[in-house]
Symmetry: C2
Subunit: 196 residues, 2 copies
DNA sequence: GCGATTTTTGAATGATCAATCAAAAACCTA
DNA sequence: TAGGTTTTTGATTGATCATTCAAAAATCGC
């Protein structure tokens, strides 16, 4: 019977995701991770494999937790239009807060790593597809409920892509300095106007 | 009389900007820069100071060259609406190309560095302000020319912020994998619809 | 040719990096 | 207690990092 693990790996993935989110992948050293996770180097490598594998696991963990909030909200039965409006309002509030200035881990990863890390690229593409599908679902419900004017399925998909583009832009603007809130609110307001 | 410089620094800033654009700041080593600029380490430090200073100079160079194209186009006398339309079309084309997948250096910098590099944060904020002002100028011309319906100055500024938010989102979507073009086109199409 | 000045060269420096590894520790069974 | 297995520990390893520095080189004026 072998020695048991002294810790549970899942909560450590949350901590690692938080650190990568704050600092970026390249700027986060294994020693930073060792400190943050309160692990010894051998344990970290034994459990997660290596730095990149830990990053991948942390991204998956983030996508399954924080990253699900918006798609889940959009998929909830009920008013599709209300769901979209709530997602935008929530994004303005979160991205305006001090903590929100770091944006979104997956969007940050797209910009930092996705051009030379094939696995990260796949995760980013999956995430964008998930967002687009959730917005499409909400828009279809809105159309069925008469909350937006009739549109073809193609038009619905185009609108979903646009709304996702706006949300991604808001994540960039979260990093834009003291005027971020005004920019976020303006983007959200006009974007929601496209529902009319 | 001292020994003259063997090279001209300005074109080297273009090369450095190109490398940082492709790889990101942290993932680009001084040895990478030495190779790319065809300089020896001492010359690089003697001329530019250190890695960070070179990055700052490269950002300024980018902002003064490539980064000016969109604001210059928007400020050109003539149809404000046409200028905005051209900027969006140009962005779709550039960001869809193989080379365009790396997005925009300043947007990438915002996501990678701006949260822990005060100087980079300032440059990013300046850039966002420049974009917003140029869009505002084009929108004001469009309103004066009767190309868009009348709006208050506040509404014009809101619309400019929204359009910039969309452009920033497109730069994120440039990194989103094989479906990027469709996403870029959808975002641009609906965003331009907001002019009506 | 010498002196003064600045630039180039690229090896060297000390720090930091990601990762390894051997010994000790923790568990169970016989 | 011994044996088997896995985990923990943390010092060590070899590579890479950003930067420095002394000697050689390039220029001009005397």
């Amino acid at each position: 019977m072998a020695r048991p693990l002294k810790f549970s790996p899942e909560p450590l993935l949350d901590k690692a995701a938080d650190l990568f989110w704050r600092q970026g992948y390249e700027a986060t050293s294994v020693q930073d991770l060792v400190n943050e996770l309160d692990l010894h180097p051998g344990s970290l490598y034994n459990t997660f494999g290596d730095k990149h594998a830990l990053f991948m696991a942390a991204l998956d963990r983030y996508a399954a937790t924080t990253g699900c909030r918006i798609p889940d909200l959009l998929h909830q039965p009920g008013s599709g239009r209300r769901a979209i409006e709530r997602v935008f309002q929530m994004s303005v509030d979160l991205l305006s807060a001090k903590e929100g200035r770091r944006g979104c881990l997956i969007t940050n990863t797209a910009m930092e790593c996705a051009d030379h890390d094939a696995e990260a690229t796949r995760k980013v593409a999956t995430y964008q597809q998930t967002m687009e599908d959730a917005l499409t679902d909400a828009l279809n419900r809105a159309r069925t409920n008469g909350e937006i004017r009739p549109r073809t399925p193609e038009e619905i998909r185009t609108l979903a892509r646009f709304l996702n583009g706006c949300l991604q832009g808001m994540r960039v603007l979260a990093h834009s300095g003291p005027d971020a809130r005004a920019r976020l609110e303006a983007t959200a307001q006009v974007a929601l106007g496209a529902l009319d």
